[in-house]
Symmetry: C2
Subunit: 356 residues, 2 copies
């Protein structure tokens, strides 16, 4: 089973299923290990974490599994600070409603990538995946030298070809259905917003390295479809958010499981970078409002989001979700992986039966 | 082969491949017949045509094939006329540049659906498909009584469930990748813009009638993926536009085949209704410009588009295209169908080999 799948060999996993590296505490070491132990590849979303926090996370994962896992980081993007004052003004009323101050220090920034990557090198992690761009080649070469598998994130063919040139071993092809942040980095202003299927068809024709389909995949039929289109693996995030191992707050899990009539939207209102999330009061009211650049907007809204989660007020939370969220379940993550595998095999057999 | 596919039986065709009913002269009787004769279902896009033109088209198709084909009509939508004066002002300069007058009579409207449908009833056509809404039930019942198969178009689960209630035999599930007009009719203002894959996964779980996947499918891998997701058939438009049988102008075909670096966009600038087309000067400059309601904008831009096609000026044409247009070919339509079938079988066998 899957013996002819190059990506499964490359990642040393059993099934072509990767749990997407959801940053911000969703992909806990427990979730990562549960997916990995079930035969998929768990990914630890460490983009927001300090080197110390990353080392701690890796150590926790290694206590729970001896199988391969990935750590994911954000490639820093050099955006100018814009809308700093007006974006703060737009956020004041939500802070007033939650009874919290709007604290913001202009000094705040994400931990330096260099220091984050040094931990990964030191820890000799099995797989390093990244998004929002391409880290400096010297880091990639160091990781490659010590046999860490490299996965970059692309949303267009142009980005995928640049990743290939940078020496990645595989590409996560992120379609417009994907929940959370969009990895677009080359020309965000003229983003063609390609669907996962369109992107996979294009990349599998033009790229040499294996492609991981990311975006909108929620069940085995989706896994089979991605493989049919030419992907060698799939990356699922939303499918795992409501699992008990996920770090999502109870209000977040409830919103995913119970809001079958809800919709998702693409918005930059939470961090300054486009992301797909469930439509809520905040995403609606922030339409057209001034939004600061990434990561400034992240820090501007961070306290509000944390307090809202604590107060069980999903209307002010970032409920990141892919387009297919209606199909998500709250089963344990390992069972989700097993179910995905069963469904994939059933879908393939059903399909083969149609042409027999 | 395909013996277990309910849609293939229902439509009395050999392969689960439908040529999308591209109105405006793209789906000529020759194209329809070529697809039908190759074992798919050709569709005659008759939305803009008078009853007399429809009867002529059907007669031409029947001269070329004795196999089943579809005729497609637009369900009329009752939109208020808006932006009439400002939208004309926005178009003046293009008419000046082409050296043509901006002619517009407020009296103009599409041929009445009632009279169009009467032709279909009289001609006892095999398949009637429709978009932009649901025609009055009395018409649908008359067609059903005489064994015409009914296919409605949905872009959301809510629309699909309403179509099922109306008694359709199958649903064309149109994802955001689709070229040309978007069929959304219930809540166009809060359109969740679902991808074909997301929509198929959702509809195949909740609908009883067979689902046709429409949007972004360009090759057999795409057909196999749609079937894996639970569709029973596929509907491809862009894949056939550059074929010799298509009525697209040479400039349009050239743009599709040669503009590999081009992008598509969703725009209402051509007809007042959202449609996906290649980005060109007109779509770019009309961003944010006043646009009249459908079908008024259609009549406002009609002369410009016709003259531009004649003058070989693609920058003023409606180059409708799906997101996957880079994969389109200029082979004869019958060969495209044969190739799709071969590729589908190969994709399914390749997939089955992966889990063996």
């Amino acid at each position: 089973v899957w013996s002819k799948n190059g990506l499964v060999h490359l990642l040393k996993i059993r099934f072509p299923i990767v749990q997407a590296p959801m940053a911000g505490g969703l992909a806990t070491p427990r979730l990562v290990a549960a997916v990995t132990n079930a035969g998929g590849l768990g990914s630890f979303g460490a983009g927001y974490l300090t080197p110390k926090e990353i080392a701690k996370g890796i150590s926790e994962i290694r206590e729970l599994t001896d199988q391969p896992f990935a750590v994911n980081l954000f490639s820093p993007s050099m955006e100018e600070t814009k809308n700093l004052k007006t974006s703060q003004e737009a956020l004041i009323r939500y802070h007033q409603e939650l009874g919290i101050p709007l604290k913001f220090s202009h000094e705040r920034s994400l931990p330096p990538l260099k220091e984050q990557i040094e931990v990964l090198i030191e820890e000799k992690i099995p797989v390093f995946s990244f998004t929002f761009g391409i880290p400096p080649l010297s880091y990639l070469q160091q990781l490659k030298k010590q046999k860490t598998v490299l996965i970059g994130t692309a949303t267009t063919l142009e980005e995928a070809l640049l990743l290939e040139e940078s020496g990645v071993d595989a590409i996560a092809a992120q379609g417009i259905e994907a929940g959370g942040h969009r990895g677009t980095f080359l020309h965000p202003d003229v983003d063609p917003l390609l669907s996962t299927a369109t992107l996979i068809a294009l990349l599998s024709r033009h790229c040499q390295v294996p492609i991981l389909a990311a975006g909108g995949i929620m069940n085995g039929a989706g896994v089979a479809a991605a493989l049919a289109l030419g992907a060698q693996g799939t990356q699922l995030g939303t499918a795992f958010i409501a699992s008990p191992e996920s770090g999502a707050s109870p209000a977040y899990k409830k919103a995913l499981i119970e809001s079958k009539g809800a919709k998702t939207t693409l918005t930059a209102c939470f961090t300054g970078k486009i992301a797909r999330a469930l439509v809520n009061r905040f995403t609606k009211e922030m339409q057209g409002a001034p939004i600061a650049s990434y990561p400034i907007q992240h820090f501007l809204t961070q306290n509000m989001r944390l307090c809202a989660a604590k107060d069980n007020r999903p209307e002010f939370m970032a409920l990141y979700a892919g387009e297919g969220f209606q199909l998500c379940s709250n089963l344990p993550a390992g069972e989700i992986v097993s179910l995905l595998v069963q469904q994939t095999v059933a879908a393939v057999q059903g399909l083969a039966g149609q042409i027999a």
